[in-house]
């Protein structure tokens, strides 16, 4: 295997799953052969858009299967992938597009500001790709790349100034993937959770290409938040994920805080109980979870040991984008505390005055259109990493310092202090500045230390104007003023950052002693832009602290990250006080479970129960009330996968009549939505209805669909039904008709269809208006006709259009 195209060819006839995409509502799976086919269609798409060999195509979008299709689609026509961090702002994306001369950019609807197509640049939204690719035929012929062909240009640094484009060839990348797999040597198949950005070589090699090479499964999340990560780990049986140290630290803090609140923290030090607690914690990560792969920044020993004590491996590696990226790593069987492991096969290193120099198959050949930077990066054919290390007798590498002191945030984004310093130093009044990562208990945050020209300068104005010129990734979070005449410097006049840091930390410590920092108060202070002393326990968030709806969203988001729970911003209302909020968070109150959602009804047991009830009792009973005629059954013959049935609503007997009109195979694989307000209304519900409800759920396989609060939970439940190959029957009028005419549809149907992404089959039922109409006490026997229409597939329609089209489809079904 010499190129990424060779890797691609191995996908063709493999039927194992390669991707799972969890939207929070649906769970979409793709096999290796799907990946093969969709990538070929993507190649066809690009070639229709005029993209040719050697053209650059940027991808500025979140991790998802479509990211992978785009990646291979680009490579298959010989074009070059230019990945852009999804978290970065439009300015940076535009800079990279311009520098690389990209002809096309794949972007995302989840970005506030998009890049518009113009002259030489075309664009598409990644979320539209599934519709755009559907009608296309896979490209007939794709290129055979050579190892020396450029596959990617990955831009590093340059949050402000001149990003450098690292040219990586097919040979660079694939050799690193193979060497890394051999080196780490995981003995069995793994499920990976991929949340770090694929635009970074770390995630691309470790979390994407290596699993593809090994035949593993990769799970992507549409929404990356603490709860979706934990659900993903557990539900998908994840064995491993990549993580940056800051993420591992945030996770550790949450676990410790939870133990603390339960009074269990001290038990972590008692030998026997330690094991029990560790087991309980491990359980939260699912039954398969084994290891984190750590990279991007140095892993503190204490963090390594914390996870090791819990029974998880933390396999740390070391690399740079320029080396595709891995230079050294620990292995599955052996992890050494404080070491980044041994060097990979095919990579050679040597130390020059402790600086690591690298040579080998995965080392890049230069920066794109930047020979000056390229020249500076190499010495006698060796790439100068700028990092310092020691190597022990067994060849284990210990990193001793990094020249650039990169700050890595929790989502794995590199922030380069020198670039922020450049911005600061240009601002009037700033003599010099020193930017470093300062840990205030939640991992490193960007901290600026200013050396001012005079004392009466407004420092917050300086920071504000700097932040305006900085990418959203690289915002300065804290600052302090350096009171001495100058920073401590080396003989070559470089600032000795570690000395600056030592001083800041010692000052911090003395402050901490008289004021234990309250996280909730400090978050509220941060969001409301008030000083902490102003915030009292009985302060009302909205009226006293001026938290408006935007700040509320901001605060809730911070709280979610900090406490790792799901919160809705409606938890804060007009009267919520600080102490209310504190109680709510301390209780970690789980959001109430929605009633009336029983998934087991659609498993074997539920199906057998219904078949039995129908056979002995319900079907014979139904013959007393109606003679049934079904029409349009041929429309159901070619259904692939689940659908949503929608029908007009005239009578309580509609549901059983439609069920019995369906072929058996579909009948027992269909669940029906009932209106929650009917069974459980606020102003009391007849006792008989309450009693009937559980029987109805079991015998007719129904679930509750509330219109208001709880709608999204029911929606998620419907997603699980569909994933479980179950159809859904909905009466979109919501209530039975009074005059026999089709009423307006509820607005929610449009959202349901859009989120579930399955076809809609219209059904019309006739005759029930005579048999058992609204208001009648008892049914009167008669003939009932059920007509099934053709399935309708929706793509980019709005919710109202979906409703209009579906409603007309029912109206068009006539008894003739």
């Amino acid at each position: 295997m010499k190129t990424l195209i060779d890797l691609f060819k191995t996908f063709e006839r493999r039927n194992e799953d390669v991707f799972v995409y969890r939207t929070g509502i649906r769970r979409f799976t793709f096999t290796y052969s799907n990946l093969y086919e969709f990538s070929l269609r993507m190649a066809q798409y690009f070639s229709e858009k005029g993209i040719k060999k050697g053209d650059k195509v940027a991808i500025w979008a979140p991790n998802s299967p479509s990211w992978a299709f785009s990646y291979f689609g680009i490579l298959l026509i010989g074009a070059i992938v230019v990945p852009v961090d999804f978290v970065s702002g439009k300015n940076r994306a535009e800079t990279i597009v311009n520098l690389s001369g990209a002809k096309f950019i794949i972007q995302s609807i989840y970005k506030f500001e998009k890049i518009l197509s113009s002259g030489g640049l075309k664009t598409a939204m990644m979320e539209d790709l599934s519709f755009l690719l559907k009608p296309l035929i896979p490209i007939k012929k794709f290129i055979q790349a050579k190892p020396i062909d450029v596959a990617e240009i990955v831009y590093t640094s340059g949050t402000t100034g001149d990003p450098k484009g690292v040219l990586l060839t097919h040979g660079n990348i694939i050799s690193n993937v193979i060497a890394a797999c051999d080196h780490v040597s995981i003995p069995y198949k793994f499920n990976f959770l991929s949340v770090l950005p694929l635009s970074h070589m770390f995630e691309q090699t470790v979390g994407f290409l290596a699993p593809l090479y090994r035949g593993d499964k990769i799970v992507y999340l549409r929404t990356i938040k603490p709860s979706s990560i934990m659900d993903g780990l557990r539900d998908e049986g994840i064995s491993s994920m990549t993580a940056v140290p800051r993420f591992l630290l945030l996770l550790k803090n949450t676990i410790e805080r939870e133990l603390d609140s339960k009074g269990l923290k001290t038990f972590l030090r008692t030998p026997v109980l330690k094991k029990i607690i560790a087991r309980l914690i491990r359980k939260k990560f699912g039954h398969n979870f084994r290891m984190f792969i750590s990279g991007g920044a140095g892993l503190p020993r204490e963090l390594f040991n914390f996870w090791k004590n819990l029974g998880f491996k933390v396999v740390e590696g070391y690399g740079l984008t320029e080396c595709s990226p891995i230079i050294s790593a620990n292995t599955f069987n052996e992890q050494t505390e404080g070491s980044v492991g041994k060097v990979l096969k095919g990579v050679r290193i040597k130390l020059d005055n402790k600086e690591i120099l690298v040579k080998g198959d995965s080392v890049f050949s230069g920066y794109y259109q930047n020979s000056q930077a390229t020249e500076k990066a190499f010495g006698n054919g060796w790439f100068k990493t700028g990092d310092f290390a020691e190597i022990d007798a067994d060849g284990r590498i210990f990193i001793k310092g990094r020249k650039k002191d990169v700050i890595v945030n929790a989502s794995g984004i590199n922030i380069y202090p020198d670039e922020i310093e450049n911005v600061l130093n240009k601002i009037k009044g700033v003599k010099d500045s020193c930017v470093l990562g300062l840990d205030k208990g939640e991992g490193d945050e960007v901290h600026a230390v200013l050396l001012l020209k005079s004392k009466d300068i407004n420092t917050s104005e300086i920071i504000k104007s700097a932040n305006e010129n900085l990418d959203s990734l690289a915002q300065i979070a804290g600052f302090s003023v350096w009171e001495e005449l100058d920073f401590p410097r080396t003989t070559t006049l470089k600032i000795q950052k570690f000395k600056v840091k030592e001083k800041l930390l010692s000052e911090e410590k003395s402050e901490k002693q008289d004021l234990t920092r309250d996280i909730l108060i400090s978050l509220i202070a941060n969001v409301s832009k008030r000083v902490e002393a102003e915030i009292k326990e009985n302060s009302i968030l909205v009226s006293d602290l001026g938290i408006n709806s935007l700040s509320r969203l901001e605060l809730v988001n911070y709280l979610e990250q900090e406490y790792r729970v799901d919160l809705e911003d409606t938890i804060i209302n007009q009267n919520t006080t600080v102490s209310d909020l504190r109680k709510l968070l301390e209780k970690r109150e789980k959001i109430k479970k929605q009633r009336g959602l029983w998934l087991w009804l659609n498993n074997k047991l539920g199906i057998v129960m219904r078949e039995f009830l129908d056979f002995i009792f319900q079907i014979p009973l139904s013959h007393l009330f109606f003679d049934l005629e079904s029409k349009g059954l041929s429309n159901l013959k070619n259904l692939k996968g689940s659908v949503i049935f929608i029908a007009n609503h005239m009578s309580y007997l509609d549901q059983p009549a439609i069920m019995y009109a369906m072929p058996r195979k579909i009948r027992y694989k269909t669940a029906s939505a009932t209106r929650e307000e009917y069974f459980f209304s606020d102003n009391g519900t007849p006792f008989v209805r309450k009693l009937l409800f559980p029987y109805g759920m079991i015998a007719f396989n129904t679930f509750l669909l509330p219109q208001e609060s709880g709608f999204r939970k029911s929606l998620a439940f419907m997603g699980r039904l569909i994933d479980n190959n179950t159809n859904i029957l909905i009466f979109p009028e919501g209530t039975r008709t009074e005059n026999g005419k089709l009423q307006d549809f509820m607005a929610g149907l449009g959202l349901i269809v859009k989120e579930l992404q399955v076809p809609v089959v219209p059904i019309r039922i006739f005759g029930m208006e005579k048999i058992y109409p609204r208001g009648a006490k008892f049914p009167k026997k008669g003939k009932c006709t059920v007509i099934f229409g053709k399935p309708i597939e929706f793509t980019t329609e709005t919710p109202s259009e979906i409703i209009e089209i579906s409603r007309n489809a029912i109206l068009n079904l006539t008894a003739k």
Binding site: Y110, K111, D128, S472, L553, D569, L751, T798, P799, S800
Partner: protein, 103 residues
Amino acid sequence: MLGIDLVYLPEFEKKLKTFSLERIFLPHELSQNKSKESLVGIFAAKEAFFKAIGKKEDWLSVWIEKNKYGKPEIKTLLFDNKKIEVSISHAGEYVIAIVMIND
């Protein structure tokens, strides 16, 4: 019932950095509104809607669609059979929306 909301675009943009669009907008709102101005208009309309009904509900229980003439219309899960009218206007860095609900 009447509600009004005025949004200052730079503030919205700044706050947005900390939370994701999915908290406020439904996928179809995001895919049909490519410019940031129109997204902020939707935000203002939702906020005005909550003011009109007098309480804060889930952002995703209400959404905006454009009719064939491009006029925005508000749809909601919270009730049916009520007439809701909305109007949105932009000027420089400000966006304003007004919502009226009739039984």
